[in-house]
């Protein structure tokens, strides 16, 4: 019987816990067979921010998560034959490769084989007009705004190619998240790139792992209703995959969290639209007939994924500049807090109407109506007498001045607004707008290079 392939996910986003991978590495180190650690750190906006950083400093622009997640994971993985696959290359995979090589040397592994995948950046091969012609579902690119980032989602093939060539660490930029899991499976199990059923199963495993603890009881706990033991020390997921593509989702022993049919079901449908048509660069996944079965404590067996031919086009995400977002908050507490907060809101909106009439200002009362906003109409500020009210003002514009004026007006409530205003916080954030494009596969050429190899 062929050994199972084990893949752990040590990070589901750039801000994920730096210590999450330690328990996975320890668990994988106790096992034999092919073992991999996957790190997903590149949300759409994260990559746009990486592109901006690369412009400021051409030696940077990889995911900030690299410096937080890699240093302590690298040595133990290399020492135990656990290979690492991560998209922390961000907007500059080759710079990330150089940095990881440095970290590997520092960890005592100067001979580590580090592969870099490039070819996802469209900004050179595609003109603004070509991207505009390929935009789907919107018109963000109309009017030729300044493009910050244009990256296509690559699939699993170049990653698998790097693993076939012996890479200990594979660093990518933008790839479809599930490809970070599918690639090592195809490499280790010798699956065919037109074996849609197995590719679908591997993609589903990747989909379940890519958000880290979201499948092991993270983002799930609801005290008294859906209790999760040991949430503070939650274990991140490991998939044990058989050669037929069936797999078990579990987590390292001795960790908190829970893996059961409920946690897995919530994650199966996470960010899915039509469950029968989940498009990826490698396969069209159909989860409509997926079945889950308990397979022991914190073990769920997943089967029944179906696959269809991969799409002919690849999806790309384009980011353009769109001015700034300004947010400012102030609190009112104690007797008559509601009326004082209401008065503060009136003062700011009145002054803004006079001074920046074109700017739409949103006002929320946090704790009352800020999250569901108009959805929960009976919980507006006018309808209750809370012990305290935190007001939040927000506006966005391509013109910075008006947005800054709003923040100044909220701050001025300190001395010129109603009694007892406190705790003003304000921030201005660059706004980015995103567009989706579909590009022809034949226009995209992924490249695999090894750090230190002759070009």
């Amino acid at each position: 019987m062929e050994p199972l392939v084990r893949i752990g996910c040590g990070a589901g986003f750039a801000g994920d816990r730096a210590d999450a991978s330690a328990a996975i590495i320890a668990e994988l180190a106790r096992c034999s067979g092919p073992r991999f650690l996957m790190l997903e750190t590149l949300a759409e906006r994260t990559l746009a921010l990486c592109q901006l950083e690369r412009r400021r400093d051409p030696s940077r622009g990889y995911s900030p998560a690299l410096e937080r997640l890699l240093p302590h994971a690298l040595g133990p993985c290399l020492a135990n034959g656990i290979r690492i696959i991560g998209n922390f290359g961000g907007a500059n995979p080759s710079a990330a490769g150089a940095r990881v090589a440095e970290l590997a040397r520092n960890a005592g592994f100067p001979d580590a084989r580090i592969a870099v995948i490039e070819g996802d950046d469209l900004s050179e091969a595609f003109s603004g007009g070509e991207l505009r012609a390929r935009e789907v579902g919107g018109a963000v690119l109309a009017g030729a705004p300044a493009v910050i980032a244009a990256n296509v989602y690559l699939g699993a093939q170049p990653i698998a190619q790097a693993l076939d060539a012996g890479a200990d660490i594979v660093i990518t930029g933008r790839v479809a998240d599930p490809a970070l899991v599918l690639a090592p499976l195809v490499h280790a199990l010798g699956w065919d790139w037109s074996d849609w059923q197995r590719l679908a199963a591997g993609t589903l495993a990747g989909h379940l792992l890519e958000c880290g603890a979201q499948v092991t009881g993270g983002y799930f706990a609801d005290p008294g209703v859906k209790d999760v033991p040991g949430l503070a020390e939650i274990g991140y997921p490991i998939a044990e995959v058989a050669s037929d593509g069936s797999f078990v989702v579990t987590k390292p022993r001795g960790t908190g969290g829970t893996v059961d049919r409920r946690t897995v079901t919530e994650q199966i449908l996470y960010e899915v639209h039509d469950p029968c048509v989940y498009l990826t660069p490698d396969v069209t996944l159909d989860i409509g007939a997926v079945e889950l079965a308990d397979a022991g404590r914190d073990r769920v067996r997943v089967s029944g994924a179906r696959g269809h031919r991969r799409p002919d086009t690849l999806k790309a995400t384009i980011f353009v500049e769109r001015g700034v977002l300004g947010e400012a908050e102030i609190s009112y507490a104690g007797p008559n807090a509601r009326a004082r907060a209401k008065l503060a809101a009136d003062v700011v909106t009145t002054r803004m109407r006079q001074r920046a009439p074109e700017l739409a200002v949103r006002v929320d009362a946090i704790g009352l109506d800020s999250t569901f906003a108009a959805l929960a109409g009976d919980r507006s500020l006018a309808a209750c007498s809370p012990p305290e009210v935190r007001l939040r003002f927000a506006a966005q514009s391509a013109e910075r001045a008006g947005v800054e004026l709003l923040l100044d007006e909220v701050e001025a409530l300190y001395c010129a607004g109603p009694a007892g205003g406190c705790g003003v916080r304000r921030q201005l954030t660059p706004r980015l707008a995103s567009a989706s494009c579909l590009v022809e596969r034949e226009r995209i050429t992924p490249r695999v290079t090894f750090v230190g190899a002759a070009a």
Binding site: R45, G137, G138, Y219, F220, D222, G224, V225, K226, R262, T265, E266, Q267, I268, L269, Y270, E271, V272, H273, D274, P275, C276, I287, G288, A289, V290, E291, L292, G304, R322, L325, A360, R362, D364, I366, S370, T371, F372, A373, A374, L375, A376, G377, R392, A394, A395, Q396, R431, L432, A433, S434, S436
Partner: protein, 125 residues
């Protein structure tokens, strides 16, 4: 049989996700026995009504009987989405819990303490 009206929260759990200005909410039965009642009452039309204040342009429900779950896809309900919304929850992460505030009528017998879990459920609220 006696029908009893309860918040969906007592019969199901949910998780939402986003892509642009589109939200998807996975609704999962706490117990498979609730599936038919939820399927009959939580139609796409009903969910569109529940979220009327966000003016969904389209709501589609996908059924996943093997998972005792439904996937609702709501178009244009995220105030422009995470890159454009002025609200705190541009992802619509909390919309899952708003869906669970809808009420449905179930056979009281199904809520009878047939298992420890459902007894526990009834004891709440």
């Amino acid at each position: 049989m006696t029908g009893i009206e309860v918040p969906l929260y007592r019969l199901a759990h949910a998780r939402s996700g986003d892509k642009g200005n589109r939200s998807n909410i996975a609704l999962i039965c706490r117990d498979r026995v609730f599936y038919p009642a939820i399927a009959a009452q939580m139609t796409a039309e009903r969910v569109a009504q529940h979220f009327a204040a966000r003016r969904p342009s389209l709501v589609i429900r996908y059924d996943l009987p093997k998972l005792a779950a439904f996937n609702f896809v709501l178009d244009d309900v995220l105030e422009g989405g995470v890159n454009a919304s002025l609200g705190l929850d541009g992802h619509g992460k909390a919309l899952s819990f708003f869906l669970l505030t809808a009420t449905v009528t179930v056979d009281a017998d199904l809520l009878a303490p047939s298992s420890a879990a459902s007894a526990d459920l009834l004891a709440r609220e």
